[in-house]
Amino acid sequence: MPDSSHVGRTYVAPGQVVDGQRSRAFAAALAGDDPVAEPEAVPPTFAAVYLLFPTLGQLFGDAEVGIDLAGLIHGEQHFTWHAPVHAGDVIDASARIASVQEKRGMTFVGVDLEAARQGEVVCSGSSVLIVRGASS
């Protein structure tokens, strides 16, 4: 179970290539039965693919933090886009545990996120992950 001693842990996923085919499938999945509004654009929330999963996947696999996936809820998500991302871009993704708090018998893990393209930050953000069950 995460606790405040885990604040500061960092997970890096360099070299995430923005895959155009996957981005188009992602856009189609968001559109559902509607036509895709911007077929050539990488959807802004494709950051889930190049930023969230590569880094949070490592956090979930960190046995010392010990997040139980069965009790995990994605509580909040915030993104800021500093520059458009295009297919073929190579993204260095990183995540850092910013806070761990217990509230109402649940553990709230705040994570800061950053995606950079050749050193230029293109997307930053934060996640709140809620783990049911408190550590104490």
């Binding site: 996957r22 499938a25 992602f26 189609a28 999945a29 968001l30 559109a31 559902g32 039965d33 509607d34 509004a37 911007e38 654009a41 959807p43 802004p44 929330t45 889930a48 693919v49 969230l52 999963f53 996936l69 069965a70 809820i73 994605h74 509580g75 909040e76 998500q77 915030h78 993104f79 800021t80 886009w81 500093h82 458009p84 953000g125 934060s126 709140v128």
Partner: protein, 139 residues
């Protein structure tokens, strides 16, 4: 896509709402495209076993639809500079999600427009709450 004219915008103006019915087929497609392996979105039995009424849509799927609603209003996704929300209630397959928003600040010098945004389901659940978005329009 045509963008709203910055000088005509006023605090309180509403964006054009976007409604979309989200099916299990769409949820499965999102799970595959996003790479989210969590079976609560795709496996009915597993979802019930962890206390859910059934499979639920990804919060990030609803947030992605909300991003599309704001981008459509702003005249393109490259104008969307920030978006965030709390995932308050699950969206269930077959539900229709309606995304809406209103202008809360306009900075005429920079073209930055701030919006309060949300998404509700047709069963009356507040799916995305405390939402904030920012777009940059032509000055």
């Amino acid at each position: 896509m045509s963008a709203p004219a910055l000088t005509a915008l006023q605090v309180g103006d509403a964006i054009t709402p976007l409604s979309r019915r989200v099916t299990q087929v769409q949820i499965n497609a999102y799970a595959e495209a996003s790479g989210d392996p969590n079976p609560i979105h795709t496996n009915e039995e597993f979802a019930r076993a962890v206390g859910l009424p059934g499979t639920i849509a990804h919060g990030m799927l609803s947030l992605g639809i909300l991003a599309g609603a704001v981008a459509r209003w702003a005249g393109g996704s490259e104008r969307l500079t920030a978006l965030g929300a709390r995932f308050s209630r699950p969206l269930l397959p077959g539900d229709t999600l309606t995304c809406s928003g209103r202008v809360i600040a306009v900075e005429e010098a920079s073209g930055v427009v701030s919006l309060a945004v949300e998404a509700v389901s047709d069963r009356g659940d507040s799916v995305l709450t405390n939402g904030r978005a920012q777009v940059r329009l032509d000055t």
